[in-house]
Amino acid sequence: MAKLILNRLSKSFGGGKPAVNDVSMTIREGGFLALLGPSGCGKTTVLRMIAGFEQPSDGAILLGERVLADAGSMVPPERRNMAMVFQSYALWPHMTVAENTGYPLKVRGITGERYRRKVMDALATVRLDAYAERRPSELSGGQRQRVALARCLVTEPDVVLLDEPLANLDRHLRQEMEETFREFHATSGATMVYVTHDQAEAMALATDVAVMSEGRLLQMAPPAELYARPEGRLVGSLVGQGAIVSLKIPEAAPRALDWEMLKTAMRAEEGISPLSDILVRPQDVLQDAEGIACRVSSILYEGERYALRLTLPDGQALRAYSREPAALGAIYPIAIRSAWRL
């Protein structure tokens, strides 16, 4: 195993904007990378290029020293020692659960006792050993997904690719499968690349998250850093809850802003500083009688708390949490504990 390197990778499907545009990243050995972005951002195309189903128009994909693909040549998928969990599971309806799981072994010429043991081990890992002789059509969605995962386990692949594997499951099953993926990553030690448009899923599972938009890589960082220090408006709006307001902040100010600086900026009538985008997380917006008077524009009960939408005196919107209900249209004075300049 070795690290997976994407070097200035581009892909265009003829005409118009390229689907993937100059993406470079290094996924460390044993890492778990989540490719996060809205639909159509090119994340699935990146995954399919790593798998070998698409050839890059430019740039290269390397696994350690070995060039897997560039614009001129390409190692076919069947010789990459990778495995993939597809969104639609891609189980072969004419084979049993055990045959589906064991197919990669069969192709590699592994037979007999060794074959049987490996298949049963893989099925045991996903707790499906009792279902070995069933057909995929007799299984539920979550069970099918686990068969697909067992098929990945069975050959110890260098890289495991997951294409929105939880998109077709209900919420309860998702949590269970997230747990299974985490276990799988911990025990197998395989490098994993996980495509999703659900930021909560990405944050919960991955060791690194890469945010993409319109074919470009915007930021790649561990989840906590991505949450605390997002780069740019798009990443800020995509990762976690929050409101983005425009304030006049001196250019020399640090990126992490405290209440003193925010208060000054919000109260300044005329400033010479240019407008900056400021990300304010709702948990940092506190009720404070001394603070800035906002008006409550909507209130939503979420069970453990109330989610408020506030309007600043200049008309911009903020979000806040409150333990107590607030009247619609009431004055709600606030202070902001901290904020991040995007």
Partner: protein, 540 residues
Amino acid sequence: MLSALPLGRLAYTGIISSLKGDMWPLLSDPALWQAVGNTLSTSFFGMLISLSIGGGFALALTLCNIRGKSLLSFLFMLPMMIPPQVTALSWIGMTGPSSTLLKAIGLAPPLGSAQPLYSIFGISLLLGVQHAPLVYLSLRSGLLALPQDGIEAAKLSGASSWRVLKDIILPLSMPGLIAGAAIAFVSGVGNFGISAILGIPASIFTLPTLIYSRFSSFGGSTFGDIAMLSGMIAIISVLGLAIQERAMKGRDYRIIGLSGKAATFQLGGWRLVVEALLWLSILIILVAPLTALVASSLAPAYGVPLTLKTATIHAYEEILFRQAVTRTAFINSLFLATVTSLCLLLVTVLTAYFLVRGKSRFMFLLSALVDIPYALPGVVISVSYVLLFAAPIPLVGITLYGTLWIILLAYFSSFFAVSLKPMVSAFTQFDPVLEEAARLSGAGFWRRMKDIILPLVGPAAGASVILVFLIACNELTVSALLWSAGTQTLGVVIYNLDDSGSFDLASALSVLVVAMVIVLMLLLELLGRKLPKGVVPWRN
């Protein structure tokens, strides 16, 4: 190769002979224009009859709450699969003064009165019956895509059932109706079996039968003449298809929204009436002619009344055990049909795979070339093969003409599309991720073919084999021009038996052929339960 080369040769001979000036005697020949007129009128009236029968059945069976739909649908599809010359024979056996059936029940017209089917009207009627299932299929696929909610929305807007039919269903089913009409017309233009059996005795020639008779009375200008005649058929067919294109323009009603459940009309008290009408039509277009055919085959001699006492299986003994030519024909037809269906399957599995998966522009060209023989009548194909292989092949010096191999080659190009269509629809419904998963498992192309692709498209492949076998086994148009002594096919033998006056033997052979058709269709029907949509034409 199989489609481009012969057609190129056809065009070449046609152009050469028209340049030499052979065109003028032909063009000034009144027989030609008579034949063009006959072809156009029989195909046009046949198309109208197909439209009314096929359209009625499609509306009733698709949209209404009729009982026994699948049985009715199966019976209605039978005429399409029964060879046209057999259809013609059975209808002759049903009508006219010497009908065994009518005699047996004492309804025969007096001797000496004319057989009413030996006329333009008779040819049109039978063409209409033969091709009504084509209209039915084409209209039905459109009707099935009509969403129930669209019709419910119209009803909630206050429209009565008739208004819904007029304002929603008919406009939306126009594309299917137009396409069906075009197919029925083109099939009528190229039909040889019906116009030969009904037309030649009354000296009513259509273009395909004119080619046949010119070919029989071989002369110096024959090749040029038949090339030009089949060129004419091609032109008429292409014109028909062009009119269809024209009529289709601006009618791209792609159905929006889910078409989950097909729409259904509750007929209420009318249901019995409609059901009775449908069964009556089946009786007239299928049951009665086939009964007549069986009756004629059991009659001791043509024209002798059939009773329980006079009934004899002499004709069956004759064709099965005494006549060497029928045995040869059985062997030839079975051989041709088996080889054609199996060889084509090998080619079409790969072709369909690359057509569906492939992205290169070359594929569009290939699919167009493959569709040409489908739109062109079989006569044109066989004439091009005659022209291509009449002389020994250069370099190798082998003469194909007069052997079974030339028929086989012509079958390959005629039935390629028939074999390809089920495979293409199977591959379009085949989720590519199943194959991608196998690639990542490490399986190379042939390995994937064997382990994943073939098992999954297997049922469709079986259906494709049976369909081609069925059609090839009963085929007459192509082999009528390409046969010679020893290479007769079943179609040719039935035609020749009738032509030489052995009506009872022709009927007996036809009965066997129909029985074979029904068995094969039942086999397809059974197989159809496991097949993806659109593989067996009459199932959905």
